[in-house]
Amino acid sequence: MKKEIFQDICSQVFNVLESNEQLTIYLEGENSQYFRFNDSKLRQSGIIEDYAVTISLFTGKKSLQSATTVSSDIESSVNNLKNEINALRNPLSLIPDNEFTSFPDNFDSIEIIKSGQLPNRNEILDALMDIITKDYLTGVWTSGKIFRGCSTSEGANHWFEKDSFIFDFSLIDKKENMVKVLFPGNYWDKNKFNAAFQEASDRLKLMNKPKMELKPGKYRVWFEPHAVADFVDMLNWNGVSESSLRNGSSSLLKMRKDGVKLSEKFSLDESFDRKSTAPFNSRGEVSENVSIIKNGVLKNTLINSKTALEYGLDSNFAEDVNSWGMGEYLRAPLMHGGDIKLDERLQRLGTGIFISNIHYLNWSDNLGGRITGLTRYSCYWVENGKMIAPIKTMRFDDSFYNFFGKNLEGVGEDILSRPVIETYDGRNPGETTCPGILVNDFELTL
């Protein structure tokens, strides 16, 4: 969808508002090609065009939302949105005022267009198959444009558009050893992909040894950046949200109430500097960078405008609650790097576990900061700085007050951006940016 079409739809819809009404219109769109592979053969192939629009109609201290779909056909889209506004008017008149409802302040309009060079849709499959049939690949290729737009009846017109592709895949050998790769970009280069594939294939060959079974206990561990990103992302779920702190469900409650600190090596920001995702939220409010935890100390939380009104705080324009019931989540998390160089990881680890990826995390004790999950993909036992053998899947259960706290021995110098690969509500342009970490006494339980 072109920006002009979205903004034309919006301006026509704003014209039907009555004098006491205000409206925001938020677009999340994509036009994407998907190929799903199993053992380097094609399982599913398709195209999805989806333009999901959420409108919020305000009259004074009342507001109702409606989510619907639009298309590049302006007339039918305008009619659809007019119908939704009409459908909201009657229930809006019936509900009571909500003192925490506010129409968003006006912000200068933002336009970010990250153009790239995406592969030709008729040619990419042949190009991929040339390479991936050299090994056994299972995963999904996604490419196309991602859109975000937000316009308000008070004149804000934000637009974010990104060309991007991501090949999210696993190489799997006959013994079911696996290596996980995310190959994202916005300029397609077959040679670069071939090199990444070959590197992964070489890593998989290193795993062709009998797997070691570790016993439950405490271990010294190096976590690669993608594993750390999974831990950081857990803080989006009853963590950095001011609302969750206020309602007693945040894992950071001990930091707020008791002044508990993490390691001074741990710092976490919400940072839009990389422009990987839209800095405006679904209300059209534009977020600045926020220092969440600095050198182990909780500095700020994410506060949306509703929470700000409810508790008398300043909003930092965090996101409203999404379809998963999560609000005030990190859209551009950045964990700061440290001083462990890439080629020093194994030496610094010495003897312990090298964990590339983790899987299926959940809080086992939210307020205690305890997270359980499992090792997955290429995880190795290391002795005296040398990789010995892959390990069998192990369950862990430990608190981030330990592994981001007293047990955090060191942090990697290089930081790596992991794009959001979840597509439940469509493709998401965001990413989580993290270094690797070296941890003592990490607890494996099963």
């Binding site: 999805i48 065009e49 939302q65 909500n98 999210d168 007693g248 299926y360 499992l374």
Partner: protein, 478 residues
């Protein structure tokens, strides 16, 4: 829109074309403490165009319901299927994999949900919040969410399929948090979003929200004052609202044939179950009888046809503890040669159908609750899931519950907080030593089951009696 006419106008060179139109309206209202928190309508509609060329499917999903656009999309999908068919994982026979049935389904109800006004929903939600908030100042948060969903699906195809299905779906979530200077504890009605089912507007009259809301808050207060769940090996009794999650994660997912065939290895994961295990694997004790049953009235995932157009029937997946059938739709059945079920399901118009759970239920046994509790010298009773995690082969699990009670000398005694347990799937199910009778049997659902690439969430129903497991590793909080 005349879908059959569109199919007749298409000049594509496809061997088969199917159109699946989905329209879903959601009315969501939530309250927080004594205030209205959010009121939202969601109205999505669009069409999934699926074609087959040379035994290979390809799809195009669009919300733009214009005849010419749909015809253009069919042509694009045909071109893509042609390109893709050189590399197929499996070549399907279109008449074998899409049968062309005609039929319909409608939720069993007295009055459609559309008869409820926003005031009706608001009053119900406030009734929940008021009864959670009103009696103890340590209750710092009470939230109620009511979701009413009306979903219409129409499937037509070039080989004669014509299926209409209409589902009315209800979800009511209550959540109460109690806090003192040392702790914070949350209780809900049957775990996160577990109270969901198909129903009409009459559910408002049928649901005793006041009693449930009060009980939740009382138990949140009890948990503040409780000891941690002990760390030990002991007998474990699970309430049906935790059995829902146990069945879902350690029976439902590992039996999905597309996982066993490897499709999900890059995302959701694989399975410890192999194709050779069907008909022979002792999955659990002889008390374990698991059925796939979309034909139950009013359970969350009830339907007459799956999204591949196949008629749904009740089938045993595990009978007397032996694995007998896979959770695989017609595509996986053909690929694997294993008996399956009609479970090709898609979350909406913008996702293709894949192997999913529908209603996966554990059949009741013969024991009363008193007999189960009375049989235990030392154990823990747990209810309402709050934490779930399992490995990618569905072996090593760890689950946490909101509320627990010690069982001592055959009686339920004191409340314990932060109850968790962990185990390994087959060992755990083989330790199933008592199943409750029909009086202990309850029906729940989970609306957020994630799977697939691109990802999709599906609504799944689960029902279970009270169950006893022997010698399980249980533990408490930090």
């Amino acid at each position: 829109m005349n879908f059959k006419k569109i199919l007749s106008q298409s000049n594509s060179k496809a061997d088969w074309v199917g159109l699946r139109y989905v329209e879903e309206k959601q009315n969501i209202l939530s309250t927080k403490k004594f205030a209205l928190d959010n009121v939202q309508r969601n109205a999505t509609r669009g069409i999934m165009i699926d074609v087959m060329v040379n035994g290979q499917f390809s799809y195009y999903a669009t919300p733009f319901l214009d005849e010419k656009h749909i015809l253009d999309c069919i042509d694009i999908a045909v071109n893509n299927a042609h390109l893709a068919s050189k590399f197929s994982v499996f070549k399907f026979d279109h008449d074998a994999v899409r049968k062309g049935y005609e039929g319909s389904y409608k939720t069993s109800l007295k009055s459609p949900l559309s008869n409820l006004s926003v005031n009706d929903i608001k009053d119900l939600a406030f009734l929940g919040s008021k009864n959670m908030m009103n009696f103890d100042k340590r209750i710092i948060h009470a939230g109620t969410t009511v979701e009413l969903i009306e979903r219409n699906t129409r499937i037509v195809s070039t080989n004669g399929a014509d299926i209409n299905q209409k589902m009315d779906i209800v979800l009511v979530e209550l959540s109460s948090t109690a806090q003192d200077k040392n702790d914070s504890q949350t209780r809900s009605n049957h775990g996160m979003r577990g109270h969901c089912f198909q129903a009409g507007a009459e559910f408002v009259e049928d649901y005793d929200i006041e009693t449930e809301a009060k009980q939740i808050s009382l138990q949140a207060i009890e948990l503040l004052e409780a000891d941690q769940c002990p760390t030990e090996i002991s007998d474990l009794v699970l309430a049906p609202d935790q059995m829902m999650l146990q069945i879902h994660e350690s029976v439902g997912h590992p039996l999905e044939l597309d996982r066993i065939l490897g499709d999900e290895r890059n995302f959701a994961g694989s399975s410890f179950v192999n194709l050779e295990d069907f008909g022979t694997l002792q999955y659990g004790s002889e008390l374990m009888n698991i059925i796939f049953d979309p034909t139950v009235d009013n359970q969350l995932a009830s339907y007459n046809y799956d999204d591949g157009g196949m008629p749904a029937t009740k089938e045993h997946l595990i009978k007397d503890g032996i694995l007998v059938r896979g959770l695989g739709g017609i595509e996986s059945q053909i690929r694997s040669g294993i008996d399956g079920v009609s479970n090709l399901r898609a979350s909406s118009w913008n996702r293709i159908p894949i192997d999913r759970m529908a209603n996966i239920n554990l059949e009741p046994g013969i024991s009363t609750k008193e007999e189960i509790i009375g049989s235990i010298e030392r154990g823990v009773f747990m209810e309402s899931n709050r934490s779930w995690s399992i490995d990618d082969y569905r072996n090593k699990f760890q689950f946490g519950c909101e509320y627990g009670k010690l069982i001592e000398n055959g009686e339920l005694t004191k409340v314990v907080k932060n109850p968790n347990y962990r185990g390994i799937t087959n060992q755990f199910w083989r330790s199933l030593s008592m199943t409750g009778n029909i009086d202990t049997y309850e029906i729940f659902g989970t609306p957020n089951c994630g799977k697939g690439e691109p990802n999709q969430v599906e609504r799944v129903g689960h029902a279970s009696p009270l169950c006893k497991f022997d010698k399980v590793q249980v533990f408490g909080g930090a």
